[in-house]
């Protein structure tokens, strides 16, 4: 029998009924008396100076009540305090097609829509930059004047050990280029915000956001309104996946329009606008050089990435670091060097999407590991097991590893799929592939420097035995409310359905940093556990007194506090609450969580990568390739995921399966691609999200390593399971047709090209992928330049040491 009454049971999510029936109130479901409808005018130019904006004709249009432009909110903002380069609406320059330029509020949507065409914007076109290569080279075109070199947003270099010596010890060195195409989150719900500015001069903003606390700070900065007069309420998000974790122009515009008009204002983006809001997966070019000994032991890795960041920073500094930071936590790497460059281009800003910055390098690295296994004649699954980073260890880049279940994941996959026996045996056109991965359970640092908790929770028990949990997390469909209810219920001894969760409200809930970086289960879970334990002590104490039984003999479960030696000797939870309140006064407790110190290094750049615990996962993909049409069908994806402990197994399985679906979509054909600065497919018809008919059979295997610091041993399950799916599919395609796909997505066109069937030219290829930086840019020159700046930077850093930047 389980030691738990709630944990591990297959209970429905506490909010599933509301979500399934449409009862859940999303931002766009909010209708307030006298509410106005806002719309954003967006830039039609990829790169242009704004000479003049005139909204007078729009204001004169019947039904239009107010209009605002960039100059009304010129304060710079952005999610990362160190790289704020955005304004709510473009002020004097636009940097991508779709950038918000002005906003109108009108009595209905039609009037607002019509008014947009009456706003006159006089643009002076500037030469746009669309490629990584141009961004690196073009000193004469500056997307942001602040960029020191060409259009480089951020350049980072981290070195651990003597790289040359490491490669010298290798018997075999692989040096491969990869390219990962950009893609976007495509959540079902488009972004929406409703602002109300009351007679008390207080602003309330209901918005589909993952980060109500960070947004609270930015609203204060941009609107010039004290935070004490702003309340942000994160409405349930209809999916977010990282796409709602920045402050967005429409949120500020709705707020300012509400302040100006003293009427509620709603702005809901249409689907096309969601593609422009973006903040999705960065396109990344990668070069990975790995040295191994004959037995496969890695001697050194040199990883380089070039990120196409789009027009603004977003989380870009963290993304850049993340491309290099987590490569070390899966397999033993004794010597490691990481160079990363993120550039600005005239496209919608890239940011965090599920797997934030780790998905692209994991794809490249796991494809390369597959090649190395083949080069050495090793089974790819066995090879990975042989080189695992051990639990309770430190990586070469000083990350603390605690529980580590990748080996168990690989074993579970072998048992389930018989990968090793089937690889290479399925016949031409059929293949099986494997890959491993890892992810953080929350970032070790917040995005702004502070010594406060990362997560706070407040719990109240009412006189009828009801429990209210208040926490600043945002329910984005991932099940965070359910996790909080589960942890509180298990700790106090009630059912999750007895728990009311109030989340994501800056006036009602203690600060939690937000639903990003897979931090909620671990961090908010621990905060709720902390608060619950405090209340449990009071209840158990009161019950012990009443029952005349020592506290140590009492357990709490199933709405009872009972004597473990004589379970029929009990007080009900509600009675215990009355006894405890009589004795101690109102039953409220606060709890909090902050990651321990010392889980990462102290070098400059060490702020990204540390996490109190890492999740591990591996996937096996089975594919069929139509050799005539080039069509790739993924038949099945089996994912094993070490989530520490599954607090609610169906919720964990749902996350694993959803992640597999999303990863599958990214390699099969989802692309955020552009033609002359215009998004090529900004609709759900053209952006090829897989349908249920395309989606492979998905199977989730839950592996529990029981983390010592996680709540009941739990770690994350939201993001990590996406990562291994993509390289597993690429490796399976290799098994099927003998072609390495070193770039995503794997399209029919590329398969036909490799098979020599495109245009009937008959020339076959063993590999599809980049050989360096593209276009006319000489990769060697770019690399030499990078090398030179690297050397200069390292000499400087060696001089001053430096401190980690505040990154999340």
């Amino acid at each position: 029998m389980s030691e738990f009454s709630i944990i591990g049971r297959r209970l429905p999510k506490v909010n599933s009924w509301a979500h399934l029936t449409g009862e859940a109130r999303y931002a766009d479901d909010i209708f307030l008396p006298r509410m106005l409808y806002g719309r954003l005018l967006r830039s039609t130019r990829p790169h242009a100076r704004i000479r003049r904006i005139d909204v007078s004709r729009a204001l004169a249009h019947p039904g239009v009540v107010a209009a605002v432009i960039g100059a009304d909110m010129p304060e710079k903002m952005g999610i990362m305090p160190s790289t704020q380069d955005e304004t709510a609406l473009a002020v004097d320059k636009v940097r991508y097609v779709g950038e918000p330029v002005a906003a109108v509020a009108a009595v209905d949507e039609d009037a607002a829509f019509e008014a947009l065409s009456l706003i006159e914007v006089d643009y002076e076109d500037l030469e746009p930059i669309f490629t990584i290569e141009d961004a690196l080279e073009r000193e004469d075109v500056k997307i942001h004047e602040e960029a020191k070199r060409a259009n480089v947003f951020k350049e980072v270099h981290l070195s651990f050990g003597d790289l040359d010596a490491g490669f010298a010890r290798a018997d075999h060195v692989r040096d491969d280029w990869f390219f990962f195409e950009g893609n976007t989150h495509a959540p079902m719900e488009s972004h929406s915000a409703v602002a109300q500015y009351g007679g008390d001069d207080k602003l309330t903003l209901w918005t589909a956001t993952q980060v109500p606390h960070y947004l609270h700070r930015e609203l204060e900065k941009v609107l010039g309104l004290e935070r004490s007069r702003i309340r942000v309420i994160a409405t349930p998000n209809g999916g977010a996946f990282g796409g709602k974790s920045d402050p967005f122009g429409h949120e500020f515009a709705a707020a300012l329009l509400a302040m100006r008009t003293r009427r509620p204002v709603k702005i809901t983006l249409d689907r096309e606008e969601v593609f422009y809001a973006h903040r999705g997966r960065h396109p990344v070019k990668m070069r990975i050089k790995t040295g191994v000994q004959k037995d496969g032991e890695i001697t050194a890795v040199h990883y380089q990435s070039w990120l196409d960041g789009g027009a603004y920073a977003s989380y870009g500094i963290a993304t850049t670091y993340y491309t290099g930071a987590l490569l070390t936590v899966t397999y033993r790497i004794p010597i490691y060097k990481f160079d990363g460059v993120r550039v600005y281009t005239n496209k919608p800003p890239c940011g965090p999407k599920r797997g934030h910055g780790t998905t692209q390098p994991r794809y490249g690295f796991e494809c390369q590991i597959d090649k190395i296994a083949e080069d050495l004649g090793l089974d790819p699954l066995e090879y990975r097991k042989r080189i695992l980073q051990p639990p309770n260890s430190r990586t070469v880049n000083e990350l603390r590893i605690t529980s580590m279940g990748l080996g168990e994941c690989l074993d579970a996959l072998q048992r389930r799929t018989h990968f090793s026996e089937r690889r290479g045996q399925l016949g031409r056109g059929k293949g099986i592939g494997i890959a491993g991965s890892a992810y953080i359970s929350g970032a070790g640092l917040p995005i702004y420097w502070n010594d406060m908790p990362h997560s706070g929770a407040e719990i109240r028990i009412d006189r009828g035995g009801g429990v209210t949990v208040m926490c600043g997390t945002a329910e984005i469909g991932q099940g965070s409310d359910n996790v909080l209810a589960t942890v509180a219920a298990e700790t106090l001894g009630v059912y999750p359905s007895d728990v009311h969760v109030v989340s994501g409200d800056t006036s009602l809930t203690p600060v939690d940093l937000g639903s990003y970086s897979s931090r909620v289960t671990f961090m908010a879970g621990n905060a709720v556990r902390d608060a619950s334990l405090k209340l449990r002590t009071l209840l158990v104490g009161a019950a012990a007194e009443k029952l005349g039984v020592p506290e140590t003999r009492l357990l709490s479960a199933y709405r009872r506090i009972y004597d473990q030696d004589d379970p029929e000797k009990f007080v009900t939870f509600a009675d215990a609450a009355v006894l405890a309140e009589s004795k101690h006064g109102t039953l409220v407790a606060a709890g909090s969580y902050k990651p321990p110190k010392g889980i990462g290094g102290t070098f400059k750049g060490a702020g990204v990568g540390p996490s109190p615990a890492y999740s591990y996962q591996a996937a096996v993909a089975e594919v069929s390739v139509d050799l005539d049409t080039g069509t790739l069908v993924v038949d099945k994806v089996t994912t094993a995921h070490d989530c520490g402990r599954a607090l609610n197994p169906p919720n964990v399985e749902g996350q694993i399966e959803g992640a597999a679906y999303m990863g599958y979509g990214e390699i099969i054909g989802e692309e955020q691609v552009f033609r002359g600065g215009l998004h090529k497919k900004p609709s759900l018809l053209d952006y090829k999200l897989p349908t249920s008919l395309d989606t492979p059979a998905l199977e989730a295997l839950v592996v529990e390593s029981v983390d010592a610091e996680g709540p009941f041993g739990a770690k994350e399950a939201g993001e990590g399971p996406l990562n291994p799916v993509i390289p597993a599919i690429a490796n399976a395609v290799y098994d099927a047709i003998g072609v390495r796909f070193d770039e995503t997505p794997i399209t029919a066109e590329k398969i036909l090209d490799a098979l020599g069937k495109r245009d009937n030219r008959g020339v076959t290829k063993k590999r599809i992928g980049p050989d360096g930086l593209g276009g006319d840019a000489d990769p060697n020159r770019a690399l030499r330049r990078l090398g030179a700046t690297t050397a200069a930077r390292e000499r400087r850093v060696a001089g001053d040491g430096g401190q980690s930047p505040p990154t999340g």
């Binding site: 249409d270 080039g630 069908v633 215009l678 609709s683 053209d686 090829k688």
Partner: protein, 348 residues
Amino acid sequence: MLRLPRFRIATPRTYREAAQLLRDNGAGELDRTRGTPTLRVMLVAGGTDLFPNMKRRQFSPEVLVSLARVRDAARIHENGKLEISAGTTLTEVAGDQRVRDRYTALAQAAELVSTPQLRNMGTIGGNVCLDTRCNWYDQSLFWRTAEGFCMKTNPEVVCRVATSSPRCLAVASADTVPALLVLGASAHLQNAEGEREVALADLYREDGIRAWAMRQDEVLTEITLPRAEGWRSTYLKLRDRGSFDFPIAGVGAAVRWDGGTVREARIAVTALGSRPLLVEAAREALVGTRLDDRAIGAAADAVHKAARPMDNTSGTISQRKVASRVLTERALVSLRDPGAWGAAPPKR
């Protein structure tokens, strides 16, 4: 959310009234100098294609003539020939046992259109009159404003697909049309003066704007299919996903067997040019053969030669060219060896 432009709606009870309404509200031969969106009056049946297009301001008609209330607009009647009223939904067409048994290609094609929800609303007439598609054109007003528009909506502008093209290169994208073509369909048209019947093959033109040879004040009322004794037919579609997507290549094939010999054959393609096309050379390659691999190869070559995909849909030109050949081969093999490919094409 995107909003519809304002319009008036008329709900005639007969096709003749509908045709009269078209004329009364200013429908005439499309004036190329005015461009597509200046159509003052348009027909709407299921609305699954028209309303999204109106939301994107590809059309802003002042008047919509709805066919929803036209009497007997949705029925399938067998009278030697099979008469399918234009307002019959794609779901009804795909599910009709007579269609499934004897006009298999049409049942398959209707079932492959878009999604179940849209097939419940979308009609056979609407699919036959589906606007040509292009990924420079099927975009929002905002997007097209940023692009600077194209010939299809603004005649003074170039074709974005091939800037030197004298004509619009938008793509015929209806699934049911190649199926109907290989089944020998004819179309009944109603105008204010009367009715006429034309071979469906004559209804289309190689022009993305003036894609139909019918008058602007004519209403498609019925599709008629001749008797199908001895015929076997199929339709295969290439698209990106298992649902939702328009074809990026589609091949309809029908052969009439006489003993072991092909007495008559028709191959038609969609999504590979501005008009759906009966490929005459493919017919020639098949008639009189036993549908051996060589004959099939020759027919596939003919289709490959006739296919003229441009870079204005999903997928790529070469992928779609290759598919035109492969789909033809598979369609014909399935007509020779039932069960090989026909009923269950590969998932994606």
